[in-house]
Symmetry: C2
Subunit: 256 residues, 2 copies
């Protein structure tokens, strides 16, 4: 929503001392879509999360050369590392979660097969789709001016998800029923305890939510149930509520 | 995401002392889609925001009769009355804002013609689309178990929007540039000052955002600029961030 220099993610190998080489689809985007020329400026994102303003010094059919003018000192990444584990939803809802979740600052996405996931899904199918998914998160990262592209992990089972949980400090799952219990911790209480360097894994059930078996499994493995407001959210809306709330709490609330 | 009784919005005129009459599309939904029968229970929403558990006592091709078993005592509506003014976006993005915005608790939507709105739009076109829009917010209200259906207002100009502003306590517009200024109030600071009975109007620019002229106009008329996190959000994502943050702040943060 603000007019700014176009951004491109450039692989490590294409960064030289003071020059950046852009290749692949981005060349077409620079010359044909944006119609940029020698002397025009762009922002190049380094995979390590740094970004630099660069000036185009040469354009050919398959590569663009730009000189680094200055390294930017920005912090547009969420101070909390949030991974969204999404129960495989129907139709193209996963595309949508990847695009919006990237805009809202997710660090990674883990699609998982839940009991109530109706889509048939296997490693092969994921492989096929991975190219599109990678393109979606790359473009959403550029559009939202992020300096990191979220990771998309292979499809897991709930058991696999529980193994993966060992890599996180805080484990949550969306489960509004829980909110009715006395000993329930609100999402706000949980975020208040979170420290800025921590990693959080948030699991969202598919259409129909988690089965009772899955709920028990998650609870037994230290996943805390959270309510995302008193209204029932669709499976593709829940991760956006989680990410927007975390951004609001740590980036806009500024109560400390 | 929780299995619960199906909800139907029933116009005032169809509520009798202890019986409710359901007519129109919902009859088909009850008998054919949900395959409900005599003795099955549903929740009927009264336009005033009340809801009751009802038991079906008769089904015909064009009407369903149900007795009121008990009035529910629920509060699933946002404690703040939030109206989203959406700069007319491209393609079907408005459908999307209406559906997700309803799930997230919006009280009303005002589409408006911004300088950078590329879609051609007139009262006629709106009239045509209004049926679909009304259906979207009704179904999203039912699905998210809301007790009120958000209002969809006619398309306004920015001037019209500024007139409309007289009906609200707090006026905001999404404008990340502003966040760079020293005297800027964060979204959190603004929500901290908000009282639970107040009405808030939040304006979101179309693709390309607000023009400088519109920004000045809005500021001169007491609209406060807010940043929605440091990342650049698409026009259809911004209202979801606003609503999720307000829900989080007033329904889940519980810091008082």
């Amino acid at each position: 929503m603000v007019l700014a220099l176009q951004r491109y993610f450039v692989p490590v190998t294409n960064w030289k001392t003071d020059v950046v080489y852009i290749t692949g689809d981005d060349v077409h985007h620079i010359s044909r879509v944006m119609r940029l020329q020698d002397g025009d400026q762009i922002i190049c994102n380094h995979p390590e999360g740094k970004a630099a303003t660069c000036e185009i010094i040469s354009l050919t059919k398959d590569s663009v050369q730009a000189t680094i003018i200055e390294w930017l000192n920005e912090s547009v990444e969420l101070p909390i590392d949030v991974t969204i584990a999404q129960g495989l939803p129907k139709s193209d809802k996963l595309d949508y979660v990847l695009q919006k979740g990237t805009e809202l600052g997710a660090a990674a996405f883990i699609p998982f097969k839940a009991e109530r996931s109706v889509v048939v899904w296997d490693a092969k199918k994921m492989e096929k789709k991975l190219n599109r998914y990678t393109k979606i998160v790359k473009e959403a990262s550029e559009q939202s001016h992020r300096t990191k592209i979220p990771q998309i992990m292979p499809v897991l089972t709930v058991a696999g998800l529980i193994e993966e949980a060992a890599n996180y400090d805080v484990l949550l799952f969306a489960y509004e029923e829980e909110a009715k219990r006395e000993d329930h911790q609100s999402f706000g209480t949980i975020l208040n305890k979170l420290r800025k360097d921590q990693r959080i894994l948030v699991c969202i059930g598919p259409e129909g939510g988690f089965s009772q078996g899955e709920v028990n499994q998650l609870k037994e493995n230290k996943f805390l149930p959270v309510r995302l407001g008193p209204r029932i959210l669709r499976t593709e809306t829940a991760p956006l509520y989680v990410l927007a709330s975390i951004s609001y709490h740590f980036e806009e609330l500024r109560w400390v």
